[in-house]
């Protein structure tokens, strides 16, 4: 417990300079961009005259220097204030929090799908390395991995949404349907099937290959050889010893892939019209809303840090060295 607490504290302390680097880096990236929020706004209204332009810049504080704006931003951040979105005309924290659930649902489900299916198939694959099943799974998952996610998404939606009409093609739930409770949960689940499949199948290959490689390694280890020498049933060796050991790097992988999946969801959200983080980020870039983009990147960084903290804890639970001290495994 104490160890976990110390770990947690250390992680949180080291996170602060990292987040600071993220904020400053993003700020100057957007600063270097041609065009600002006012340019983007003018575009959306189809033009305006110079007086209007200058007035808008002044009212948004865009006529101040970059350093002054950065300093003001960092000060506000200390008060947990992410600032004001020029694009939405609302506090950024509100805008970001509003979109967070959709992304969490999408990512969470995709992670669950790719991790469970990937590791399960990985066990099948790694149980007998080099077997026909192993080769088939291995090449099959790699092929899926090589398909661009947006393309998989489009094709899935054409087949299952348009032609078979089994599943909805867009959105996170039915519009103002009045559904509640279980019915509503079911509605959301139906909307999530296609985007989660498109995102999850692609990452599945990573977990499958990791599991398989881990198992191949584990077979060569002494304990596996010992277990075989003891004449234990192969099935038992596979599940109890080999797979369990191979699962550890997978958990670490989960943490490492969190950021990448968050990025991957950008495209999927665009294809399936899901109002999540990725879409919001695209809108922020298109609208040159620097503060909003920093807010999004900051919150996703915090999200990734949180996932990694959970991964650390899970790792500690699964680690056989921890398990060995416990009775009866």
């Amino acid at each position: 417990m104490r160890r976990a607490f110390l770990l947690l504290r250390r992680r949180l302390i080291t996170s602060i300079p990292v987040l600071l680097i993220v904020v400053i880096g993003t700020f100057f990236l957007l600063e270097a961009a041609p065009g600002d929020a006012v340019d983007a706004y003018l575009l959306s209204i189809g033009g305006g005259d110079p007086a209007l332009v200058a007035g808008l810049r002044e009212s948004y504080g865009l006529d101040r220097s970059a350093w002054a704006r950065l300093a003001a931003y960092l000060m506000a951040l200390l008060r947990l204030d992410l600032g004001w979105s020029v694009l939405f005309g609302r506090p950024i924290l509100d805008v970001v929090m509003e979109r967070l659930p959709a992304t969490l649902w999408l990512m969470g489900s995709a992670v669950a799908l790719s991790f469970s299916l990937g590791s399960a198939l990985g066990v099948v694959s790694g149980a007998r390395p080099g077997s026909a099943a192993d080769r088939l799974l291995s090449v099959g998952s790699l092929t899926l991995y090589a398909v661009p996610s947006f393309w998989l998404g489009l094709v899935l939606s054409v087949i299952f949404g348009v032609q078979l009409r089994w599943l909805p093609t867009a959105g996170l739930e039915s519009i103002a349907s009045g559904k509640q409770g279980f019915e509503r949960a079911l509605d959301i689940a139906r909307h999530l099937v296609l985007p989660v499949a498109a995102l999850g199948f692609i990452y599945m290959a990573l977990f499958l290959r990791m599991m398989r490689a881990g198992m191949a390694e584990a077979w060569r280890q002494d304990f596996a050889l010992a277990a075989r020498a003891r004449g234990l049933a192969r099935r038992r060796i596979v599940l109890r010893h080999v797979a369990r050991n191979a699962l550890l790097p997978l958990v670490t992988m989960l943490g490492l892939q969190a950021a990448s999946m968050l990025g991957g969801s950008v495209v999927i959200e665009s294809v399936f019209a899901i109002p999540g983080f990725g879409r919001l980020a695209q809108e922020a870039v298109a609208g040159r809303d620097a503060a909003l983009l920093i807010g999004i990147i900051l919150v996703s960084a915090v999200l990734v840090i949180a996932v990694n903290l959970v991964v650390d804890v899970v790792y500690a639970v699964l680690d056989p060295r921890v398990g060995a001290s416990e009775p009866a495994t």
């Binding site: 959306s44 189809g46 949404g161 009045g178 109002p275 695209q282 870039v285």
Partner: protein, 533 residues
């Protein structure tokens, strides 16, 4: 420190929102009602059409907030009444009298009167609106002798023809009682509209949809027919076609279904393709030219480029026939002003090559005469495709064009502020009168930073003089004649090259009735639109 509690509360409410998202009851709706679901590809944040006169805003807001008059196929001068029932300009061009409709109430049940019109005109259209600033520049006062009459007074003669043509676009009337004495641009009613239209604004779920509800007290007899309109945000254009086929949406306007998919989808049972209903929203495909480049300042080079473009190819292949080739700066869809007798430039690469040789730009060893930077506007796939085509067309006459691919904001900045382009592809929209649309593309002396204007450094005193004169000419025939001369001058001197003009395509389920019933249908009020089950 003082603001900390506020921020923390914000954080807490946001977190609560997140937690509650799974259990929050969605608003109930009578499922047996007539709900029309429409695809929307953009999500304007400021929905107020009196401030932002753009098609993206009108698309949604026109159902809630109405103008004084709307465009019409059959009505006199191409107009039909909305909030005004009659309009008349004085002979001296110093006043326009509007007779307003009786028995109209705002969605909050307050009565609609001439005071609302006076307030909107003086405080909003004239001061804040991107186009109204031009049309009502010299508006001095609006007299309201009674509740049903509004008399616009101008300090200098202002052509009634211009006002009339601009009515559908610039005269969305706002409720004075909600705006007076407030910061109009920051008024919450800009996001949550209150109007007199057939539909009331119900809700906006960011990233998902806008929902409008039937206005039971609408002035139109038996209107509206629909109970609800939902604008579903579908950012990916390829998604709209699928959603239509799956009957998740019933209508996609503004060519949300890609042109290349129309032939296939028109054969799908239960789906209808409409190419009507955009006559007053004609977009022009234009090559903008930076006259600061010495090669492009040479008329012969501009003529050569005009001769290098195969307009038939553009219409047939890029627009798949849903466009017409342009002859000049005013589209054929504006018969009031259109002049056919202008200099035209037929597709003739040999002539183009000869012109370039004459101008002294010989081909170098690699076959290239000179290099250019080409910036296609990213707003439409057709403008991008035309950019790809133009690069090839220029290569055929020995001009090497490098395409610069910018997103919308960067394109805006590069072309209209920094002038960092040689050629640009633009899709300006013709707004019923040259004074509020095409003239700004060639007028000299426009300061940098004004979007969709002449930023190519072109200045021609003869053209500027005609534009100036037309702005003060009250007589309709004389003013029209000036604009005809204007077209001839432009075609001769080629400050820019007009390639094609197009309207958009609407695709709808056959269950949707009364589609495309006026020349601005997509951005009109849809009071008579119906849904058959």
């Amino acid at each position: 420190m003082t603001r900390f509690p506020l921020s923390r509360r914000r954080l807490l409410t946001s977190t609560a929102l997140l937690l509650a998202s799974a259990g929050l009851p969605a608003r109930a709706l009578a499922q047996d009602g007539k709900r029309l679901v429409v695809a929307a590809d953009s999500e304007p944040k400021n929905l107020n059409p009196a401030i932002v006169a753009s098609n993206g805003v009108f698309f949604i807001a026109s159902k809630v907030i109405e103008p004084l008059a709307e465009a019409s196929f059959a009505g006199p001068d191409g107009l039909e009444p909305r909030l005004a029932t009659a309009w008349e300009g004085s002979a001296d061009g110093r006043s326009v009298t509007f007779t307003l409709r009786e028995g109209v109430t705002w969605h909050d049940r307050k009565p609609f009167t001439s005071a609302d019109v006076a307030f909107s005109a003086l405080e909003v259209w004239k001061k804040l609106q991107n186009l109204g600033r031009l049309v009502f520049a010299n508006l001095e006062a609006v007299e309201t002798p009674d509740e049903r009459t509004a008399v616009f007074k101008f300090s200098v003669p202002t052509p009634f023809q211009l006002i009339r043509n601009a009515l559908p676009v610039v005269t969305s009337v706002l409720p004075r009682h909600l705006y007076e004495g407030t910061d109009i641009e920051a008024n919450p009613a800009n996001a949550s509209l209150v109007g007199t239209g057939p539909f009331k604004f119900a809700e906006h779920k960011p990233g998902e949809y806008y929902r409008l509800e039937k206005n039971q007290d609408y002035w139109g007899e038996g209107q509206p027919k629909l109970d609800e309109i939902v604008f579903r945000v579908l950012p990916d254009r390829a998604a709209a076609a699928g959603a239509l086929e799956a009957d998740e949406i019933q209508l996609a306007a503004f060519s949300q279904v890609p042109l290349a998919d129309l032939e296939r989808i028109s054969k799908v049972e239960g789906i209808e393709v409409y190419s009507k209903g955009y006559e007053a929203l004609t977009y022009q495909l234009v090559v903008e030219i930076n006259h600061r480049r010495k090669e492009l300042a040479d008329l012969k080079v501009r003529q050569a480029i005009a001769h290098a473009i195969d307009r038939d190819f553009v219409v047939k292949t890029i627009f798949l026939g849903y466009a017409v080739p342009s002859t000049g700066i005013v589209p054929k869809n504006a018969p009031e002003f259109y002049e056919a007798g202008v200099t035209t430039y037929a597709f003739d690469p040999a002539r183009a090559n000869a012109l370039l040789d004459e101008a002294g730009y010989k081909r170098a060893g690699n076959g290239t005469r000179f290099s250019l930077k080409l910036l296609p506007a990213p707003y439409f796939s057709e403008t991008r495709q035309f950019g790809d085509y133009l690069r090839q067309a220029l290569a055929a006459i020995g001009i090497d064009a490098e395409i610069v691919n910018n997103d919308a904001a960067a394109h805006q900045k590069a072309v209209y502020t920094d002038h960092d382009f040689d050629l640009a592809v633009a899709p300006p929209v013709f707004r019923g009168d040259p004074a509020i649309s095409t003239t700004i593309l060639v007028k000299g002396g426009v300061p940098a930073g004004v979007p969709f204007s002449n930023q190519g450094g072109y200045a021609n005193p003869a053209i500027d003089e005609i534009i100036e004169k037309a702005n003060k000419t009250v007589d309709v025939a004389a003013r029209t004649d000036l604009f005809r001369q204007f077209q001839k001058l432009v075609a001769e001197d080629l400050p820019l090259i007009n390639v094609a003009e197009w309207g958009f395509i609407t695709v709808a389920r056959t269950s949707v009735k009364n589609v495309s019933s006026n020349p601005r249908w997509a951005v009109s009020n849809w009071a008579d639109t119906d849904l058959e089950s």
